[in-house]
Amino acid sequence: MLKLPSVPGATPPRPGTPAAEPKTKLDNAAEAATAALGWLDERTALSGTARFVMFRKVPKGTNWFYTLGTSTMFAFMSQVITGVILAMFYDPSPNRAYESMRYINNDVWAGQFVHGMHRWGATVMVIFIFLHMGRTFFFGAYKYPRELNWVIGVLLVLLVMIMAFTGYLLPWDQRAYWATAVGVNIFASAPIAGPYLGDFLRAGPDFGATTLSRFYSIHMLVLPGLIMGLIGAHLYLVIKHGTTAPPWVTAELDEELRSEEV
């Protein structure tokens, strides 16, 4: 079992330490901070977990390919923040949607920049999620004991693609309208389930007003919730199992081990 170092702040100042130097403001601040952390830890007992997460060992050979998952997560966080800002000004009714986007672009301070971050952040996130999936595929990281994490990952890809699809309609401009109309038609042309799927996406027989509000609630409530939950489960499993070592790093080939055997 892992032996954990003691919490630095939780222990009271040791008696007998030289009292020569007078306390500075910095000392006081540090003391207040450790006291607050101590208070929290006394009630949550989270410091052990935090220390375990931060100081757990990561196998030899961990390289830049292992940053792709974190990159995806930060792209997602950027989407959440810019999305929340856009939602403050966006109006999901067909009469107002386009005008509210125009308002964001032209009148809100840094509005077009935030809008652009959300638009291009989606592209960046899609690129990184596929790179991350490729990495875990070629490294064989989906094998025992990380199968479930792979399955969660594939669900995340699916949700992220639906996220991109539903978000594309929201500006309610010509590009959004016609591209999404065709997209829904493609879904609706599927055998058996297609017509039902089409009706569900359009929220009725016609592509129009009701479609927009349905896409909006899927895009900004349903999917983000699901994605956050799944990312949480994903990271829990990552920490529980630890990240793989690259497949070309093996214990048998390790030189020290070999010299021990000789």
């Binding site: 990561v58 386009y98 214990a251």
Partner: protein, 251 residues
């Protein structure tokens, strides 16, 4: 993987892990560096390209060629690659669905303990081929104007006629794809197989007046095009009324 292989893996992993470095600060530093690149890319793209919007959505004048975001080009492109229209739905929905299921179930049918990409020839080849196929389709989707133009030869008899009739014909051939018709119709090998009927031989079943009537007063979901400028409207009707079996076979 059987029990012995599982245990062997866990043992080996424990060794590698014990020889590794702590997450903080080593991995945190690497991740942090990459996160700066990611956020920097988003900021730069937004600064350079911004969040532009086109003109307001207008269900009646489709002056916009329907195009999805680039990462959906491959689905879009399947529409064009898979020619017989009877199986396109199977392809556009079926292929991604099957691919998704294959991905989802991957750890359950690939059960060998081997992890090195070069010693997993089947998995690695399949992965590389999938990436190449998607890259190719995406590239085709970005390159090909479809369905923004009609890629069909002008029948020789119309070329021979020349003059105003030929000019009107060529004009109609431009107006139709730029009015979004191909989003819902197929003409020759161009455009989508639905929801509208294939128009390749429309003139054989609908006279010119009937075509004009359909454009003015269509059944849903086809939008009405009675607001098109008269010259364009005329060109569209004229073009469609040349689409006969006879003309098709001339080429």
């Amino acid at each position: 993987m059987n029990r012995r292989e599982k245990e062997q893996y866990l043992r080996e992993y424990a060794v590698l892990k014990s020889k590794g470095k702590p997450f903080f600060p080593y991995v945190v530093a690497k991740d942090g560096g990459m996160v700066i690149v990611v956020i920097g890319t988003i900021l730069t793209l937004s600064y350079l390209l911004g969040g532009t919007i086109a003109s307001k959505a207008d269900p009646t004048t489709t002056t916009w060629v329907p195009r999805p975001e680039w990462y959906y080009y491959f689905v879009f492109e399947l529409l064009r690659v898979v020619k017989p229209s009877s199986i396109t739905p199977l392809a556009t929905v079926g292929i991604p669905t099957i691919a998704l299921l294959l991905l989802l179930l991957l750890p359950f049918y690939d059960r060998s303990p081997e992890r090195h990409p070069l010693r997993r020839p089947v998995a690695t080849t399949a992965g590389v081929l999938t990436i190449l196929a998607m890259a190719y389709l995406t590239w085709m989707g970005a390159e090909g104007g479809a369905p923004s133009s009609i890629d069909m030869k002008t029948p020789p008899s119309i070329v021979k006629e020349g003059g105003a009739q030929l000019a009107l014909y060529e004009y109609g051939k431009e107006v139709i794809p730029s009015s979004g018709c191909l989003a819902c119709h197929k003409i020759g090998e161009n455009g989508n197989p639905g929801p509208g009927p294939n128009l390749t031989r429309i003139a054989d079943r609908l006279p010119e007046a009937g075509i004009a009537q359909t454009l003015r007063n269509p059944t849903a979901p086809m939008p009405s095009f009675k607001n098109l400028p008269p010259q364009q409207f005329k060109a569209v009707v004229n073009y469609l009324s040349t689409l006969t079996k006879e003309h098709e076979e001339e080429k």
